[in-house]
């Protein structure tokens, strides 16, 4: 068990019924940056939900990760408008620069990459997001400059 106190803080916000499962997992994902196995076992017991169902939910939804995500979360929008404005090439450009495929994390743990369906910022297509920052009209040649600002040690 990694950190029982952090988990308790999360669980204390809920009634402890089966319908709390997804919000609890979301809080764990936000807090731990992934869903640690030991925590999931405790959650299953406390919400009285079979561990198989916890696993089923954790793997059905794209917002959950069973492995730790990178410090920075890079999202390339694959919405329709982004697609029409070179989103595919942008995604390929990011894949090449980070050296990882969507769904993976860089070996140094700095970046994880995800393609998302639409961030709803179609007026600025193609869009790249790092954590909560959105970058619009990003060309392939602009990717390195954007990533560099996050690469700096914190």
């Amino acid at each position: 068990m990694t950190d029982p106190e952090r988990l308790e803080t999360i669980l204390s916000r809920y009634e402890g019924v089966a319908a709390d499962l997804i919000p609890v997992l979301q809080d764990i994902q936000d807090e731990f940056n992934y869903l640690p196995k030991d925590e999931l076992k405790i959650v299953a017991g406390r919400l009285n939900v079979p561990l198989t169902q916890v696993y089923s939910v954790a793997t059905f939804y794209k917002g959950f990760a069973l492995e730790p995500r990178g410090v920075h979360h890079v999202q390339v929008c694959r919405g329709t408008t982004c697609h029409l404005h070179g989103g595919t090439r942008l995604a390929e450009g990011v894949v090449r620069r980070l050296g990882i495929e969507p769904g993976q994390t860089t070996p140094d743990g700095q970046f994880s990459l995800e393609t998302v369906k639409c961030v709803g910022k179609c007026g600025a297509a193609p869009v790249l997001a790092v954590d909560a920052d959105y970058f619009g009209e990003v060309g392939v040649d602009g990717v390195t400059r954007i990533l560099r600002t996050y690469r700096k040690p914190k």
Partner: protein, 488 residues
């Protein structure tokens, strides 16, 4: 944001501080809830919504009043109401704008709806991609509770109602109402067969109303202005306004709200500003992966449920992605199938396997491996999926394929017969060359090329070895001088 010609739903966007209940109240906010609770019976509220002719804005276009009545009259307590803020269709961002820009309007609309059908608890489902919307809605709910517009004995009346926000976890299928119910219940978002419909058996088996963001935001307006006023806007069977998010190859992407019946052309050319770089309009994609394309001969149809359906499209979620001559219809169909295949929950075979096979065929066509038989095979597959899929995802995933095949068959034929992409989009069918006259020898392309197909000295024209070229198009994307030429 583009000019809003007729704001009902978007009335407060950008005009008030969305984080302030006082700002919302200052423009008449919560007056409709107060009127409903203190001057109207719940039956009268339902009657008003029914008479207004409001139809669900989430895609189905089902009469809202009738849905509410089913729920009100269904046996079973407690009853629930849900706001569907999934807005999963790529290219749609109108609900996001309302949730972020006018969250109290949704809260007020839901409270009025809850009063009409007798619900005590509501849920707002907010798409995974919209964290700010979830924050704003939670804040609005907390403020409304503090001021007595939500919670126990609202405004001193016997009516009690509360709302919880549920943030999506990243599954497009949760926009489907039965999948959404499963999500709120804490399980995986797989849809189930209907009937029973949610107004009879919804959340935890109880009568439940599910309406989308735009529908809920219309409710306070109807109570404020009256059913007759609302019903006077629009066409015979489509009342009120429709909000669209217009994006793609238009000069002024943004959100527009027009009375139902407004010509499509006006939405795209007047409000959307026309086509970027004044290129030729080719088609508009409506309603995302479950919608269809409307080519230029439909530019003068009115925006309303019936005319869109007759044209093979869907008013649906209200997204409009405008395409010009530089967009390939086969590529667009392939793009949507990639999406639908990825988002298919896998429960039913027609959708799970059908999207997979359609994607495989379409990918083959865009890579120059398609045959004419493929086109007939796709039509057959589409017919099966439309008839046999469990939910709207699979049933409507065929629409982009069928509508592009119907209106742009010659483009498919160019791909399968001549192995050419007329719009110069499908990269395996293209040839990249460097124009020695315009090339400055900056080496941007050479540095980008992963396979070493580009050679040449600094400040000398570059050359692309066609044998080595993998047609990734990166040289074209990074060239600042337009020196990389593309042909098919």
């Amino acid at each position: 944001m583009s000019k809003i010609e007729f704001p009902l739903v978007t009335r407060n966007l950008g005009a008030i501080d969305p984080e302030s209940l006082e700002a919302y109240a200052a423009v008449g906010g919560y007056a409709s809830l107060k009127r409903a609770l203190t001057e109207m019976t719940s039956e009268a509220v339902l009657e008003a919504v029914d008479k207004s002719g409001l139809r669900g804005r989430g895609g189905g276009g089902f009469p809202t009043g009738r849905k509410w009545r089913f729920c009100r009259e269904a046996p079973g307590e407690p009853k629930f109401i849900i706001c569907n803020g999934s807005e999963g269709d790529p290219g749609a961002f109108l609900d996001r704008a309302v949730m972020e820009g006018d969250p109290h309007a949704i809260v007020e609309g839901m409270a009025i709806g809850a009063y009409a059908i007798g619900a005590g608890q509501g849920f707002i489902y907010v798409g995974h991609e919209y964290p700010l919307a979830a924050t704003r809605l939670r804040q609005a709910i907390a403020q409304a509770k503090e001021k007595g517009f939500l919670g126990e004995k609202i405004l001193g009346t016997p009516f009690s109602f509360d709302i919880q926000v549920r943030r999506g976890a990243g599954a497009y299928v949760c926009g489907e109402e039965t999948a959404l119910i499963n999500f709120i219940q804490g399980t995986i978002g797989e849809p189930r067969n209907r009937p029973p419909y949610p107004p009879q058996q919804g959340l935890w088996g109880q009568p439940t109303i599910i309406n989308n963001v735009e529908t809920w935001a219309n409710v306070p307006v109807i109570i404020d202005k009256g059913a007759a006023w609302f019903a006077a806007i629009g066409t015979k069977n489509s009342k009120g306004t429709k909000v669209f998010s217009v994006a793609g190859r238009v000069k002024k992407p943004g959100i527009v709200e027009v009375p139902m019946g407004t010509p499509l052309r006006q939405v795209i050319f007047d409000l959307g500003g026309g086509i970027k770089r004044d290129r030729e309009f080719k088609a508009v994609l409506t309603s995302g992966p479950g919608g269809g394309v409307l080519p230029r001969q439909f530019l003068d149809i009115p925006v309303e449920f019936e005319s869109f359906q007759a044209a093979g499209a869907n008013l649906g979620s209200g997204s409009m992605v405008v395409m010009d001559e530089g967009c390939c219809m086969v590529d667009v169909a392939r793009y949507f199938l990639e999406f639908s295949h990825d988002e298919s929950c896998g429960k039913c075979t027609p959708c799970r396997e059908g999207t997979k096979q359609l994607l495989k065929i379409l990918t083959g066509i865009t890579q120059g491996n398609g045959t004419e038989e493929d086109l007939a095979l796709m039509e057959e597959l589409c017919a099966t999926m439309a008839a046999a899929s469990l939910c709207g995802l699979g049933q409507s995933a065929v629409n982009p394929v069928l509508s592009t095949l119907k209106y742009f068959r010659e483009e498919y034929e160019a791909h399968v017969r001549d192995k050419k992409c007329p719009a110069l989009v499908c990269r395996p069918l293209l040839t990249y060359t460097v124009d020695p006259e315009t090339c400055t020898g900056c080496l941007a392309c050479l540095r980008e090329c992963q396979v070493g197909a580009i050679t040449g000295d600094v400040e000398e024209p570059q050359e692309i070895d066609q044998e080595l070229c993998i047609k990734c198009g990166m040289c074209h994307a990074v060239c600042k001088f337009d020196a990389v030429k593309v042909e098919s």
